[in-house]
């Protein structure tokens, strides 16, 4: 072989291997996503088929004559071997068909589109509250470690961990809705506004602003404020605790002492430099807290009659409505994966070292 031929080959090969090298992490990511999802779905699917609840009974009722029962069973594909059923399901999912919910007689996709915005709205509001209150509280607790602000924040946080959410929800409703009338009752809106705001995102707060209807917006706020404060309480308990830990670690570092000695204002040291350095782990913490709220807090949704994902998955599970459960699982799985990717992405922006 001549030298030039070699060089040609190497040059062409170099370009290809460069492309492959760039693509490798994406391909690995994609593969791991696919494997994760398949595993998640497989486990959920097989558990669903193994639990001693008869999904056919959920559809036909307990009085059904044997012929109706058998016909329905066959129509649901339950007479085929498990692997085949799973294969059929995956094939449908890939084509965007999440199946029909047994309990709502609607395509699962439609149900999901209906319940996810409700949970999303609530989870977002709760996390915003958790961050807006939790981060400063954690910082203050760290800065005044050992003194009363610290104790206050820690006690409030402890109560947040320990009190059952449905109890707090009911107590909140009793006080702020029942006795004081400061907030709206269970449900996302007063019933007179039912169906009056044109659906754009499914989140009533946003949709009413888009439609310019302030009456509905105010009403939606009055209904969402209490459940999001309650969920936000749990969120801030966790976030403030973690913020405090991270901040204590930072405030003990040399650069902080140096900056103080150099005459930098305390506020700048704490809020710009120390806090800036904890943003990386703090973002992970916030993302995790957000994700756990996004899968829907079924107890809160039950108390506040909030038609969200948590309630949907739970009622589906109890009746072995597996298409709905699997559909919900896919959504929750996507949320976790998405948030993980997003926080990875944020790292790269916030932390110059990671670039």
């Amino acid at each position: 072989m001549s030298d030039t031929a070699d060089a040609h080959r190497r040059g062409g090969g170099d370009l290809l291997s460069a492309i492959v090298a760039r693509a490798k992490p994406f391909v690995r990511l994609l593969l791991s996503l696919v494997v994760t999802f398949l595993g998640l779905l497989a486990i959920t699917f097989f558990i669903g088929r193994v639990i001693p609840v008869d999904p056919v009974l959920a559809v036909v009722g307990e009085r059904a004559p044997p012929e109706v029962y058998e016909a329905t069973r066959r129509a649901m594909g339950l007479d085929k071997p498990l692997i085949v059923q799973f294969g059929i399901y995956i094939w449908q999912v890939v084509h965007g068909d999440l199946g029909m919910s047994l309990l709502t007689s609607r395509p699962v996709i439609e149900d999901i589109r209906r319940v996810v915005p409700a949970t999303f709205e609530l989870a977002t509001m709760a996390t915003v509250i958790g961050v807006l209150i939790g981060v400063p509280a954690g910082v203050m607790a760290a800065v005044h470690a050992g003194r009363w602000p610290d104790h206050l924040v820690r006690v409030v946080g402890l109560v947040g961990y320990s009190v059952p959410v449905f109890w707090l929800g009911l107590m909140g409703l009793l006080l702020f809705y029942g006795k004081l009338g400061w907030v709206g009752g269970p449900g996302r809106l007063d019933i007179f506004y039912e169906g009056m705001v044109p659906q754009v995102t499914g989140m009533i707060l946003i949709d009413s602003l888009i439609a310019g209807d302030m009456g509905i917006f105010r009403n939606a706020v009055s209904h969402i404020i209490l459940p999001s404060l309650i969920l936000g309480y749990y969120s801030l308990a966790y976030i403030s605790r973690m913020t405090r830990s991270f901040m204590l670690e930072q405030l003990g570092q040399e650069y902080v002492t140096t900056a103080r000695v150099k005459g930098m204002s305390e506020a700048r040291v704490v809020w710009v430099h120390a806090l800036g350095n904890v943003m990386v782990p703090l973002i992970t913490v916030i993302a995790l807290s957000y994700a756990s709220l996004l899968e829907g807090s079924v107890l809160t949704e039950t108390v506040f009659a909030w038609p969200g994902l948590g309630f949907y998955i739970t009622t589906a599970l109890v009746s072995a409505d597996m298409s709905a459960v699997l559909g919900g699982t896919i959504v929750v799985g996507m949320v976790f994966v998405g948030l993980n990717l997003f926080s990875d992405f944020l790292y790269r922006i916030v932390d110059p070292r990671a670039r």
């Binding site: 009338g181 169906g195 039950t302």
Partner: protein
């Protein structure tokens, strides 16, 4: 940070003040807090759950109707008159003229025929209520006909008691649906079932605006209803899972009626001067059954002894207060042929004597299969206690409704504690289930019959049930059912204990709310608000 937080708090507070202003419901809108998660389909040929029946009662009409102001006697519905020929199998109905569906299409005999044939051919769970008269998907077109635009005729396979046939025609399966509308939405020969699952095609007082599963359904008044214009122009039925939440909504006036309050919450709202509680009988009976496949339980003296080992009065005075009354016959009160005798009460000495005669002076161990609902668990525990006084050691096998049901239908239980609700407002529904078992083999799989599930075969009782369903004389028919119930009290493997009562809590200004008792469902169109 702090200033921003304060600003947010202040603006939120300002918004709250304005947003939470409306508390009471408008005078012409009815808002009900209920649990409607059992609603699976809105198609009358398919729906079979309690909430669905209530929805149906207000959106559809049937040939024969029940009058909420006078429940019991059958009244003309879509049919203004009817008769059965001397052959006992040919029924003819004259259809009322001038009635219209919500769509504006007129109601004719062809719609009635389409509705009945459709119910038979779709073969969904409640279709048996019609197919039990001999209609099949193959013969429906021939047996059910429109003689002209306003005359419907069908032919049953046996000369049943006419009261039986007429009672069944008041059930939701016999709803008259808008055939023109459904034909426009038919897909692959489904008679519009896919479309009708989530929509309405009726002629009742209300039409469906929207149904959000497990959340709410909204009904709008459909013009002037021929049975009397509804006072409420819209009805909102909300799914509120938590009883405390229902109660709060009711106390604040954000709902007019709360239908699923727990006894504790009912007791609490009774003290509220703005709220009243109305009680009404319902069709469900609570019983425990003894599997006759079980060696000990198949002994008639044991069966009798166990009937004396339940504290009926005690339970209804304690934890069942406001939920059940003592009732020991398989037909709910207010049904044709009801029996008011309650021959059993807690009598440990008598039970012990019977057990001694049976050869079990020291009792025996037994399992009670029960599902994990609070009222049933408490009843089961009470039974454990009273059984123990005669030496019977009862172990509770608890599971979800569907788990326990699967065992029961497979005849794998020993004692089963549960409830049975009638399928249609005719005595044959419960007689067929409790008393009739023509084939006791395992292979027969008559899982719909309680007598079969408990392996009970009694030829005399079978014959009496079969005779009662063809008895033309209604008074005589009623007496036959009373006789049947007495026989079951004497020797059936069922200890019927209670009949359900339902308590609805409502604002004091709500009137005319009829829950329908044991034979019908809730009527929204009779509700008025002062």
């Amino acid at each position: 940070m702090k200033k921003r937080a304060l600003f947010c708090a202040a603006s939120l507070a300002a918004m709250l003040g304005a947003g939470a202003a409306q508390a009471a419901t408008p005078a012409d809108i009815l808002v009900i807090a209920d649990k409607i998660d059992d609603l699976i389909s809105l198609d009358p040929a398919e729906l079979f759950e309690f909430s669905a029946y209530e929805y149906n009662n207000n959106v559809y009409d049937k040939l024969i109707a029940l009058d909420p102001k006078d429940l019991g006697p059958l009244k003309p519905g879509v049919a203004e008159s009817w008769k059965v020929a001397d052959d006992g199998v040919t029924y003819t109905f004259k259809i009322r003229k001038g009635l219209k569906f919500h769509s504006g299409n007129p109601i004719t005999a062809h719609d009635v025929v389409y509705s009945l044939r459709r119910a038979v051919k779709l073969k969904k769970t409640p279709s048996f209520i019609l197919t039990q008269f001999g209609f099949t998907p193959e013969n429906a077109d021939e047996k059910i006909k429109a003689l002209d635009d306003y005359t419907v005729q069908f032919v049953t396979n046996k000369p049943y008691a006419p009261s039986f046939v007429y009672n069944c025609l008041t059930a939701p399966i016999a709803s008259v649906v808008d055939s023109k509308l459904l034909k426009e939405h038919e897909k692959d020969g489904d008679f519009g079932n896919g479309w009708l699952k989530t929509r309405s095609a009726g002629s009742g007082a209300y039409k469906l605006r929207v149904w959000k599963p497990n959340e709410i359904y909204v009904l709008d008044r459909a013009g002037d209803y021929w049975r009397g214009r509804a006072a409420m122009k819209a009805v909102f039925v909300r799914h509120i899972e938590e009883s405390s939440s229902q109660r709060l909504l009711l106390e604040k006036g954000d709902v007019d009626i709360a239908r699923k309050l727990t006894p504790d919450d009912i007791a609490a709202v009774m003290k509220n001067p703005d709220i009243k509680v109305e009680s009404d009988l319902k069709g469900r009976v609570m019983y425990f059954a003894m599997n006759q496949k079980h060696k000990i339980l198949s002994n008639p003296k044991v069966v009798e002894a166990l009937k004396y080992l339940a504290d009926y009065e005690g339970m209804t005075k304690a934890f069942l207060r406001g939920q059940y009354i003592v009732h020991q016959a398989f037909l709910p009160l207010t049904y044709l042929g009801e029996l008011k005798d309650n021959p059993f009460s807690l009598n440990v000495d008598k039970a012990k004597a019977l057990l001694k005669e049976a050869g079990y002076p020291d009792g025996f161990p037994v399992k009670i299969y029960v599902r994990n609902a609070q009222d049933r668990l408490e009843i089961a525990q009470s039974l454990q206690n009273t059984f123990a006084r005669a030496g019977i050691k009862a172990e509770l096998v608890v599971g979800t409704g569907k788990q326990i049901l699967t065992q029961y239908r497979a005849r794998k239980h020993e004692i089963y504690l549960g409830a049975w609700g009638p399928d249609y407002p005719d005595p044959h529904t419960n007689a067929d289930s409790f008393a009739h078992n023509p084939d006791n083999r395992d292979e027969a799989k008559l899982t719909g019959k309680l007598a079969w599930r408990n392996s009970w075969y009694d030829p005399e009782v079978n014959a009496l049930t079969e005779a009662a369903v063809v008895e033309k004389d209604t008074a005589k028919r009623a007496e036959m059912y009373r006789d049947l119930q007495r026989k079951l009290q004497q020797r059936g493997p069922f200890a019927i204990m209670f009949q359900e009562i339902i308590q609805s809590a409502m604002r004091k200004n709500v009137g005319g709310f009829v829950t329908g008792g044991a034979i019908s469902q809730a009527y929204y169109w009779t509700v008025t608000k002062k």
